[in-house]
């Protein structure tokens, strides 16, 4: 399997504070990677760099053969190929769920409206909220909103999906419905990078686990090995606290 994401010696600072330190990461197509770590460890910043919602200052990020640099057109092309799901859903509240899903395909991918709606309904069915298509985001529960946000990202038919703590803003009983959708997506062969504290989910779908602390990748291991036999002391401490 070919590399679809490649990070080489990525460094990033917020003012003087270094959030990412010499990050090296390779992700093969169809791989699922879960990133965990304490808050402030830079895990969100790392995946936000992959579609350049944050800019890195040193190193190279290559996504699907295209280097992320100043060139705006390149960035927009990458973003259209990389779906992102946010902690706060970030649905567009002035548009219905269906319009949320068709807007980018129509305006960015130039899909005809009818076709875009078919794609949208297919994805909404996949996340099981096709019956809510004509409602507005404010009328949906948190879990439904997050599933709608996943459907919206899928409508661009991305090659990679990034999840930034997708269940952290949800009530406990709604977490499962979102995780189910993500498991289904993983089994469908999507390349996924997930920042999450849901270790049950990680054990079920992740190929690799990455543990970050203080802007560095402390440990990267196969999932089974990561949980059963973590190498670094920091990882052991973290796992003992959350498991």
């Amino acid at each position: 399997m070919g590399k679809i994401i490649e990070l080489k010696k990525v460094n990033k600072w917020f003012d003087k504070f270094q959030v990412l330190k010499d990050i090296d990461l390779e992700v093969a197509s169809q791989e699922k990677i879960v990133i965990c770590g304490p808050s402030g460890s830079g895990k969100s910043t790392l995946i936000r760099c992959i579609n350049r919602l944050e800019e890195h200052q040193e190193g190279n990020i290559i996504v699907d053969g295209t280097e992320l640099a100043e060139n705006t057109k390149n960035i927009e092309k990458i973003r259209a190929e990389v779906g992102m799901v946010f902690q706060q859903f970030n649905l567009f509240p002035h548009l219905s769920i269906l319009d949320n899903c068709t807007l980018a395909p129509i305006w960015v991918k130039k899909l005809p409206k009818k076709e875009a709606e078919e794609v949208a309904m297919r994805n909404l069915t996949r996340v099981q909220i096709d019956d809510q298509a004509l409602k507005f985001p404010g009328q949906l529960s948190g879990g439904q909103q997050q599933r709608a946000a996943i459907a919206r990202a899928l409508c661009m038919e991305p090659k990679i999906m990034l999840f930034d703590e997708p269940t952290s803003a949800l009530d406990p009983e709604m977490i499962k419905e979102v995780l189910d959708v993500m498991v289904d997506l993983a089994k469908g062969g999507m390349t996924m990078i997930v920042v999450t504290h849901e270790m049950g989910f990680a054990k079920e779908v992740a190929d690799y686990m990455i543990f970050m602390d203080e802007g560095k990748i402390v440990e990267r291991a196969k999932t089974k090995e990561f949980f059963e036999n973590p190498k670094s002391e920091r990882t052991k401490l973290f796992l003992s606290q959350i498991l």
Binding site: L53, T72, N90, H94, L103, W107, M156
Partner: protein, 417 residues
């Protein structure tokens, strides 16, 4: 201490009738006094008689302030206008002032006013001389526009009303074209019709335009142009490109910091001095540009308020879907930001309409300006009151209509539940 028991459900049978009688008596006293100039309680010493309605009403309201009385209407009344002594006092005062002010207003506006006749001599009553408005009505509407050509203004506005009227009833797909026509084609068509000079229409110079029609023309054009310019300035002020940002900030702060009257004066008097010889820009157009840019600066700040109120996540979500700057702003950010600031936009536009009378400084006369002209006519001296009351009413109707429209728009666009 309990000489008089506190009003409660037990003694409601005695207190309620007494209270109602007292409150009624106090209102009746003021009413009779205001309308028939007769003092019901005149037999009392002077000072007491003056305050008697207030005292009676106050005691009455105290007696009927019964908690959980079981009478629904009484509970509602107590909760809303009689919840404590201070509120009862305010209620009484408000009602008295309203009752007291009706007769003089009624007299001036209608009963003692004159409606018939053709000259100032026909105004014999003490009230308003509406003859003044009647005789000058044509001028107030059309300014100095030639009488024979006034049908052109009428036609222009009639076409506008008909198009707007139809556009309310057509399907949303056709509506788009109606709006495009109204915004991009109609204004120039209307101006062509009113100014003339082609299609066999006699040319009417803009100095002759005036009255309410000019108020509408200036307001409409200024609103039409200041809105998009304001939006661009607001986006510019938040741009990441320093050149654009500083130009926007400079523009906004410059225009916001100068009084409109100065801007108008400069546009009419000083601006032509900088033009090369032989070039000439019509005074009305210069004034329009000045008002537009002035209000655009205000509009920009209102819109910026909306832009800043949007969570960062909306920008990130739009960008993560591959949208560029313009698509993000036009499809995601502006629709939400503008909806948020509809009250502020309405505010700015109302102020714009009410600022139009200031164009008198450059010799253009819209409604208020024409009234100012008419009241100095030797045959009609002393008619300022009637004129400005009329202008006030007309402006109020226009502004209230705009305000209602903005409220409807707010409701219609609301997607919160």
């Amino acid at each position: 201490m309990n000489l008089i028991a506190k009003p409660s459900k037990e003694n409601i049978k005695t207190y309620l009738p007494i209270g109602v009688v007292l409150v009624t008596l106090s209102f009746l006293d003021v009413f009779v006094n205001a309308f028939f100039d007769y003092n019901l309680l005149g037999f009392l010493p002077n000072q007491i008689s003056y305050f008697s309605p207030l005292i009676l009403g106050f005691i009455g309201f105290y007696l009927i302030r019964i908690e959980f009385s079981g009478v629904r209407s009484l509970d509602i009344l107590n909760k809303n206008i009689n919840s404590n002594n201070f509120n009862a006092f305010l209620t009484l005062l408000t009602v008295f002032i309203i009752i007291k002010s009706i007769p003089p207003l009624l007299n001036w506006f209608v009963l003692d006013a004159n409606f018939l006749g053709n000259s100032k001599d026909d105004c014999t009553g003490d009230g308003a001389c509406w003859v003044f408005i009647k005789v000058w009505f044509n001028r107030f509407m059309y300014g100095l526009y030639p009488d024979a050509e006034q049908w052109r203004i009428n036609t222009a506005f009639l076409i506008l009303f008909v198009i707007v009227g139809i556009s309310f009833f057509v399907s949303s797909r056709l509506k788009k074209y109606f709006i495009l026509f109204l915004v991009f084609i109609y204004p120039f068509l209307g101006i062509e019709l009113i100014s003339g000079g082609s299609f066999g229409l006699k040319y009417v110079e803009t100095a002759a335009w005036g009255g309410l029609s000019l108020t509408f023309i200036i307001s409409a054009f200024a609103i039409l142009f200041c809105f998009p310019i304001g939006v661009f300035l607001a986006l510019g002020r938040r741009s990441s490109l320093p050149a654009i940002r500083y130009v926007s900030i400079g523009f906004i702060e410059l225009w916001r910091g100068v009084p409109l009257i100065t801007v108008l004066f400069m546009s009419a008097v000083m601006f032509p001095m900088f033009l090369p010889d032989g070039t000439f820009i019509d005074k009305l157009i210069r004034v329009l540009i000045a008002i537009t840019l002035f209000e655009a600066a205000y509009m920009a700040e209102v819109v910026r308020g909306g832009l800043q109120a949007l969570p960062k996540g909306q920008y990130e979500a739009a960008r993560s879907l591959g949208m560029g700057y313009w698509k993000m702003n036009l499809l995601i950010i502006l629709p939400q930001a503008l909806k948020l600031v509809i009250p502020g936009i309405a505010n700015t536009l109302l102020a714009l309409v009410k600022d139009t009378p200031l164009i008198f400084v450059v010799g253009l006369m819209e409604l208020a300006g024409m009234i100012g002209l008419a009241k100095t006519n030797p045959k009609w001296l002393g008619m300022a009151m009637e004129g400005y009351v009329f202008a006030g009413l007309v402006f109020w109707v226009i502004c209230y209509a705009m305000s209602r429209y903005s409220q409807n728009l707010e409701k219609k666009l609301s997607t919160e539940r």
